[in-house]
Amino acid sequence: MALSLYSALDVAASGLNAQRTRMNTIASNLANARTTRGADGGPYRRIDPVFEAVPISRTSELERNVAQVRVKEIRQDDRPGQMVYDPGHPDANAQGYVEYPNVNVVEEMANMMSASRSYEAGVAAIESIKAMARAATGIGR
């Protein structure tokens, strides 16, 4: 597979997909900022996607360097959550403390802005590829 405007579009699209995955995890973290009963019984743990670069092909030096983004894993953050004294809470422990999720809303907001900017950059890249395609089809006209 030679490099073309389509391979560039594929790579840009994989970047957009990665940022959308990141946005999903951020939304999940924000929505569950006070969830004390997660899937495994304890409080919700914040999640983060880990991205990796996957070359589109290995036939040439150039193509090894043009890589799509793949979501390698969704990693759970195991930092301890905040302990709040609330003996009346149904999930309080023997000492009367409730462990809330390890989600820091400010941190998530910053992540969200970063994801949103990266997404915009990807859209700008696609616009640029489209402009190049227009220029190419304009040759000979």
Binding site: L5, A12, S14, V50
Partner: protein, 137 residues
Amino acid sequence: MLREAVVTSLYAAIQPLHAALDYHLDRQNLLVTNLAHADTPGYVPRDLRRPTSFAAAMELALSRPSSGTALTADGRVASEDVYLDRTAGAGEDGNFVSLDREAAKLAQNQSRYDVVSTMVGAQLRLLSWAANDGTGT
């Protein structure tokens, strides 16, 4: 033999421009990859080395169109040397991508592609003008 040589020289002006288009297309692929990997841990942005300065290559291509390719013998820019661009510096995750830097490179690359494709169009119009005995376009 002679006729063949004449036909080849008709397109000799376009050949180096074609190479320049290829170069910018390859570079666009790399730059888009850099933008897509703005959040991949440990990713170092790539760029394509130019044989000389773009201006010099363009000048060569324009001033000596009949001498064949100005860039490399096979009509391609020597595009195989990809280099890692660590200028922007890395964050905590070892990622060297700077969105602004890459976006600026992308815009620059795109406008250069526009310029070259306009020049190819102009060369082709020139040929068609000649083919029509200097009448019409």
